[in-house]
Symmetry: C6
Subunit: 74 residues, 6 copies
């Protein structure tokens, strides 16, 4: 099985944000595993303001988790 | 009664993510227990970008819980 | 007055999930107290993928609360 | 000014849930202060499954706060 | 630059709720800085039940933050 | 690689709010990297009340994270 999430630890807040993006996308990928379908959906979704906001929200929720896991990089 | 959630503990962050996916799907399954109906709904939903984002969001919320339960696998 | 929520404590994580489902449904029941109306709404909603995801999300939010109340059944 | 929120403390979990409902409704009331308008909106909204789920979700978020404020009534 | 958020501390829970409302509205104001446009949008939105619920939800999320900042006014 | 998030620490609550806005917008920018497209989407979205509420919600979620990272500027 593919190892895609070795840890929630990151060196910096910015890398933590990148990890949050990865976690959000993984949730989409697990629900729709077909990369071709995801690619086909992309134009419609990347040009809809609400869709972009919804995607940003999932990142925000994961960023809460990653930030807590890293004690907010204090 | 079926035992499907023995614990929130997992060995790794990635297994924690898988558990979050399971928790999210269980919520759907308890609301619509008929597997045939869920299967019928799948194509429409797996090809709608916002539906995929919404599904990813529920996973994100459960992942917060599982991560906290495992002290973020520190 | 009906006693429906004696405590947030449960013996197991799975019972905690069941309690989260109960808490989510109570929120619907308090907003629409007429059981006949809720029954009438059910088919439409149980066959809509996004509606199922939204319902699963409310369960997820309550499960965070119940899990924290039980110190994650550690 | 009307005193409507003296404290987040409640004696029981169930009273905490009732307070969460009150907090959720207050948010609606502050955005639409006209009780007549809110009354007029009610039928449409109380008979829409997703609207009921969304209302239940706001209760769930406030219940997290109230439960934490009461140390989960441990 | 306008100082609009000197602190998250409030004397009472109710003042904390008011601050949460302010934080929610600020998010709208920063995205749509034109007060005339916001005023024009108001009737439509204040008479839609789901819009009111969504607005109440943002308040709920900010109230979590303000309540935690004040140690729940214990 | 562009450094856009050196830290979650801010001197004041208000600067924390500004950082939350930045984090929310970054999530949109990573999903739709084309600034021209984002600009084209703006009018439609900045004049839709629900879109503004959704955007405010993502800010609210990030503000929770930033506030926690700064121990609520106590």
């Amino acid at each position: 099985m593919e190892q895609w999430l070795p840890s929630l630890k990151t060196d910096t807040a910015q890398e933590g944000y990148d990890l949050a993006v990865k976690l959000a996308r993984k949730g989409v990928g697990l629900t729709q595993p077909d990369a071709e379908v995801r690619k086909r959906l992309r134009p419609e979704y990347a040009e809809n303001a609400d869709s972009l906001t919804f995607a940003s929200q999932v990142i925000a929720i994961h960023f809460q988790t990653v930030a807590a896991a890293n004690d907010y990089w204090k």
